[in-house]
Point group: C2
Chain length 247, copies 2
């Protein structure tokens, strides 16, 4: 028996998120099916991040156990031939049998993309949130800077969650605009609360529209109240970029 | 009666190209339907570039005539509400009644995108050609430079065409690689032969793979024979970026 770690990229548009749900097509169910078929034994993956419906990933992580003799690094290519084209495993490698993707220290990076122009651009419609209102990038950058560091992010956590410790550390938030009017908000941290990146993105958009002042970010954090922050930005703009583990 | 010019962006994935064909869904047919419904009179557009099936556009151009009183610049937003989400008109403006998008001088820019990495990235699958083989960017840039200028591009023209004058001018070709392994080949010129950009892209890929030497580009041009150049790269990688007119 060995434990194998996968790095998984997917276009989340046509999935009901990561986690298995009865009667719904999810990333986890597709991976389990393809692995079970490839290895000829029932396989169940454990995912690092259970992304929501419509959220994309370049580098989500999952592990599974198998007694099959196929070398771990060969599983990646063989698995991709059994997966639909909107899921592609980027790598596969053997890890310690007790390594668990949600029980070890990890630095996660997400990107939220906002297409900020007068009219939508069709090729971007599944991978960004469209915003007609001209956003003030400098204000958004200033507000983002005030979120960096260790804070209680309770105001940036969906009320649907039952987590008690809402303190997290954001190592960096970069807000950039490219030549094609795409604003990318790239957030790196040691862990994220439920919907945290989408609430940060929604709040920074409100800042960019002038509805919230950049210097209000401190008060929003201190409120420890979801109602103090801006709206939750739509799922399609969010991509899990990468997860970095020590081991 | 007035003539209106549209700048049109579309995701070509689900269309049989621009031009109307019986029983097929095309960009032109969708535009005609939406305009006819909006303006309450039969409308037929004339397109600048009749892009192939699967090719995308950020800025194709079309004109049509109408006797409707709606101001030309208001048509854009009203039209988008009647178009599917993979077609978005970017602007609409009145032009001279005799202005014709294929009968006046124009500078066109196309981009061909190649995702050059070991494993596919799902979010890019409809908007780039995937190439597993590691491409030598410097060689591609050197070869591209030899195509710039006025040349007879007969070797870079699909044999299915009946054009007799195959001399064209390429003003610039830029070959760049971004941090996400996407190689963009951006070509600007005064006009392009049938499949010319896709044959240039296919030839530069062959150069990047070491199958053709950069310094062979001169001989390929001189051959004036389609068989001298590389293969035609797939449609999904091509985007018509913009068309610049004097008037």
């Amino acid at each position: 028996m060995k434990r194998v770690r996968l790095v998984v990229a997917y276009d989340g548009t046509h999935y009901h998120g990561w986690q298995i749900q009865p009667g719904k097509v999810t990333i986890e169910s597709r991976l389990n099916e393809a692995l079970t078929s490839l290895l000829g034994e029932p396989v169940q993956v454990i995912g690092a991040s259970r992304t929501d419906s419509g959220v994309h990933a370049r580098g989500n992580v999952a592990v599974f156990d198998t007694s099959h003799r196929m070398p771990a690094d060969r599983i990646c290519m063989a698995l991709n031939q059994r997966l639909p084209e909107d899921i592609r495993v980027q790598s596969s490698e053997e890890v310690d049998p007790d390594w668990h993707p949600r029980k070890c220290r990890c630095v996660k990076t997400y990107e939220y993309r906002i297409l900020n122009r007068r009219i939508e651009m069709p090729m971007q419609r599944f991978y960004s949130h469209f915003c007609y209102f001209n956003l003030d990038l400098e204000k958004m950058q200033k507000a983002a800077g005030l979120l960096v560091g260790e804070h209680d992010f309770k105001s940036f956590c969906s009320v649907r969650t039952q987590v008690t410790d809402t303190v997290r550390t954001i190592y960096s938030i970069e807000v950039k605009r490219d030549e094609e009017d795409m604003i990318g908000i790239r957030v790196t941290g040691n862990g994220f609360l439920y919907n945290m990146v989408r609430i940060i993105a929604g709040t920074l958009m409100a800042v960019g529209m002038g509805q919230i002042a950049p210097e209000d970010m401190g008060a929003i954090l201190e409120a420890r109240d979801r109602r103090a922050a801006g709206p939750t930005a739509p799922a399609r703009g969010l991509t899990l970029i990468q997860m970095e583990y020590d081991g």
